[in-house]
Every structure is written in C-alpha cells, then in structure tokens.
Amino acid sequence: MITILYFAWLRERVGLNEEALALPGGHVSVADLTDMLAARGGGYASAFQNRRTIRCAVNQEFADATAVIRDGDEVAFFPPVTGG
C-alpha cells in the first residue's frame, strides 16, 4: 500500500485529503501513477488534466515524473508552491 496526499486545488478537485492505494506491481513511476489516477475520471480527471501544473513529492522530497514509488511510500500531489 502507498499513501497519496493531495494539497490545494488538487485536494479540492479530487475531494480527498489522502487515500491508500495498493500498488499492482509493487512499484510504479510518478508518471504512471498520475496516469492511473487521471483515468479514474470525474474529480481525478479534472485534478490531473494539465500535468504541467502538477508537482509531486515522494516521502516528503520533491520528485520528478520518472521517480519510482515503492510499497510503503508517501506520495503527495500539489500545484506549484506559492508560499513566502
């Protein structure tokens, strides 16, 4: 199982703060996980429709589309940060 967190407007569109997901093959790339989530349609499709506006962190570290997610990881999806 992995934990997926959503922040800002991704959280609002998906309608969840977080969820658990069983990984089919034990690991997956960020890009493939994004495709899987987008394919769910509805709020997920809306949240993930424009990949350019989505950032990801794996285990609290920024990660790019090629990063590998393994069982037990915490994955977060969010828009580009706007603090400061």
Binding site: A8, Q60, V81, G83
Partner: protein, 156 residues
C-alpha cells in the same frame, strides 16, 4: 543552526531580532524580510482580498525549510538565521513570513535574506488561497518571476 518555525501564531520581529543577536558582538549586519497579506491582487489593483489562507504539507514543510537554510549557511558566513512561516487564515495587513540573516558583513546578510525568501517562495510546500470580496476564492498561481528570482541563485 537556523531557527525555523511553522505556526498559525503571529511573530514578533523585534523579539526575533533580539533572540538572534543576544549577547553577540561579532555581528555587523542583519538582513530582514517580512512578507505581509496585501488586499489587492496584482491584476486588479483595488482592495478585493478579504483573507488569505496558507495551506502546507506538515510532514514536509520544516524539512524543506531546513534544506533552504542549510544552503544559505553553506553559501554565506552567517552568524544567525531565522525563518518563520505562518499557516492558516490571515487578514490583510497581517504578517505571513519572516526571514532574518545575520553576518559580520552586510552584503552576506542582504544576499542571504534575498536568497532565503526567493527559495522559500519556490521550494517550500506552501499554497496560498485568497478569499475575495465577491464571495469567491482563488488559489494564487505560481509566478514565472518567482521562478526567475529563485533561478538567479543557481549559478552561484
């Protein structure tokens, strides 16, 4: 070692400077930046923001700020460094963020201050939502200018 605080509570700039410099006589300059809630959005110019909400990623936030302050301490000879970032809901005029950097020399203090706020804006997991006078709310979009400001420091 930097002082890092992520909190809903407001900060006291004078008290933070006093804590940073207490008992020290080797500091020559302290750079400081305070970010505050503005009631006008850049596109409009008129006061239409009624509140600002800062969301963050609690498990990641302090670690991300530690990376940023460690990088500042690697690049400049700092004698003290403080980063306080508020989260939650704030009114126009309230403080959002405080950066302090102390050094023997003013240029290091000023450069480190600019670096810290530029990187905080682009490399720490905070998101701003503005509540508007018309009852709606918008998530603030990342600005290309902020990415460019942060990228200035890459070549050093």
């Amino acid at each position: 070692m930097a002082r890092i605080v992520v909190s809903e509570t407001d900060f006291d700039v004078g008290a933070e400077i006093a804590a940073l410099t207490a008992g020290r006589t080797d500091i020559g300059g302290i750079g400081c930046f305070i970010g505050t809630v503005r009631d006008a959005v850049p596109q409009a110019g008129t006061p239409i923001v009624t509140a600002l909400t800062l969301e963050h990623y609690p498990a990641m936030t302090e670690r991300a700020i530690q990376r940023i302050t460690a990088e500042a301490e690697r690049r400049w000879s700092l004698l003290g460094c403080t980063v306080i970032h508020r989260v939650g809901r704030m009114q126009p005029g309230e403080n959002i963020v405080l950066v302090l950097a102390a050094s023997a020399h003013r240029q290091a203090a000023l450069d480190a201050t600019a670096f810290l706020i530029d990187w905080l804006k682009t490399k720490a997991p905070f998101w701003k939502r503005e509540d508007l006078a018309d009852g709606g709310s918008i998530w603030v979009e990342a600005r290309d200018a902020d990415d460019a400001a942060a990228a200035r420091w890459q070549t050093q």
